[in-house]
């Protein structure tokens, strides 16, 4: 659980400056950028995400390598499930219509 997932910031959320939308191999989800306030990432920057929070900025090359590492570790799928599972989508975006574009983002429950 201490591995981190690389994502690219594709937009920032208006009215909620601590949130950003990241893309991780085609999947877009909202993450919290609050741990990077001292060095706030811009659109196009790459970050490492851990439990829904961006924890550090990294280069694009490091991001690519990190994704390959997760695959090599057999955790690529788990990482994507985690990203798909982030549940912040449903908040506020009823207004902006962003929810539809971002997918349902439902929090999975144990079956």
């Amino acid at each position: 659980m201490c591995l981190a997932i690389p994502g690219k910031i594709v937009s920032l959320v208006p009215d909620e400056p601590h949130l950003g939308v990241v893309e991780v191999t085609g999947v877009r989800r909202r993450v919290d950028l609050g741990l990077l306030v001292e060095d706030m990432p811009k659109i196009g920057d790459w970050v490492l995400i851990h439990v829904g929070f961006a924890m550090s900025r990294i280069s694009e090359q490091d991001a690519t390598e990190q994704m390959q590492l997760l695959t090599m570790l057999g955790e690529g799928e788990a990482a994507m499930n985690e990203v798909r599972g982030y549940g912040l989508e449903e908040r506020g975006d009823f207004r902006t219509g962003e929810k539809h574009r971002l997918g349902t983002g439902k929090t999975p429950t144990v079956q």
Partner: protein, 377 residues
């Protein structure tokens, strides 16, 4: 060297391995502890043991937060979840961890509302959407994860979301390293320092290990080449008779850590006087609790916690394995009563625990080899 071809930059891997062989002094046995469970997983997954000289022994440290959590804490968390209308939210890693009366999964089957979340922020989101129900987030993790819980609590307080609380089990890595170093049966030469914990705390907190204990520390990335380079850096120090903290994972770990994350942790958490670790016992100032300014969002300050204490199963030798005195397979229960499907000891519980990693990658390999040989015979 059979795994080398699968790695990126096989040439660099070969070079690093050659350098390790060159640096390892003949007749000297090196005991290097990788502190982080992610490293343990990577070492087994990539078969690094098979390409290292025999005299370099990797000891798997205490850095798997699921593994070191005492059963009593799981029991306490689940006891609070029995209250009518409570939602118990936790990371997926926790779901199969056994409590005295079953795992969170088994409680779910018996009617407790247990939800997997991937982020503490998602647990808070469940609370926003279910204002009439109380949501308990069962927080675990080292300093990598604690800042995210801290920010979530700050959001909860700012938005005055009253139906949300955190059952805090966050632990800190440095006191656990100290406890291991203080143990009389422990002999270690050097440490591979955790990667992502260090993005938060930086490298300074390890300096006493080098200064006072005379053991080199190198914070490391998770790729095969990262880990091999870190071993090279440690061997160079040992060969020169030095003990310093070095940072192999510079591309992610800033020397001073992440100030915003440390600030969030300091705002919300304070050190507990002591906390119990599975396999290691009570360690002073080794865990975080929620400050009284956030008491309304602290499950422990808000509700009556039974404070269950469950002794580690006597037959399981987790403590000895954690300290590197025993190898996983030398424990009496390993692979028999205790397996990843039915874990008894702490280290079999999570895929990052050293027993589970050993079982999944080494033991099964050997077992299938035995089957192969016997089927040929």
């Amino acid at each position: 060297m059979r795994f080398v071809d699968e790695f990126r930059d096989p040439g660099l891997i070969t070079k690093a391995v050659e350098e390790i062989h060159r640096l390892a002094q003949p007749g000297r046995h090196y005991r290097i502890m990788e502190v982080c469970g992610g490293h343990t997983h990577a070492i087994y997954r990539f078969g690094l043991k098979d390409i290292l000289p025999e005299d370099i022994e990797l000891i798997h440290g205490p850095g798997c937060p699921v593994c070191v959590l005492p059963m009593g804490r799981i029991d306490d968390g689940l006891a609070l979840a029995q209250k009518n209308g409570t939602i118990f939210a936790a990371f997926g890693d926790m779901m199969r961890v056994p409590g005295t009366h079953g795992s969170p999964f088994e409680h779910k089957a018996r009617g407790t509302d247990v939800r997997i979340v991937y982020s503490p922020a998602d647990a808070l989101q469940i609370a926003r959407k279910n204002p009439k129900r109380h949501v308990i987030f069962f927080a675990i993790g080292f300093e990598t994860t604690a800042p995210s819980t801290a920010l979530t609590l700050m959001h909860a307080k700012r938005e005055a979301i009253r139906n949300f609380s955190v059952f805090c089990n966050h632990v800190t890595i440095v006191p656990a390293i100290r406890a291991i170093l203080d143990s009389p049966d422990m002999r270690l030469d050097a440490f591979i320092g955790p990667g992502h914990v260090s993005t938060v705390i930086g490298c300074r907190p390890y300096e006493w290990i080098a200064r006072a204990e005379g053991k080199p520390v190198v914070t490391s990335g998770f790729e095969p080449l990262d880990l091999l380079q870190s071993i090279v850096m440690l061997l160079r120090q040992l060969r020169a008779g030095e003990a310093r903290v070095e940072n192999q994972y510079k591309r992610v770990v800033p020397w001073e850590g992440n100030r915003a994350a440390l600030k969030a942790m300091a705002e919300v958490f304070e050190l507990r006087p002591h906390f119990e670790w599975r396999g290691l016992g009570f360690i002073s100032q080794s865990a975080l609790r929620i400050r009284k300014e956030y008491a309304d969002w602290d499950s422990e300050q808000r509700f009556d916690v039974p404070e269950t204490r469950v002794a580690d199963p006597k037959a399981a030798q987790c403590g000895e394995v954690l300290k590197g005195v025993l190898k996983p397979a030398q424990c009496k229960l390993f692979g028999k009563e205790c397996t990843p499907e039915h874990p008894i000891g702490a280290l079999m519980v999570s895929s990052e625990g050293s027993c589970a990693a050993y079982y999944n990658y080494e033991y099964r390999k050997t077992a299938s080899l035995v089957t192969e040989i016997s089927s040929v015979a």
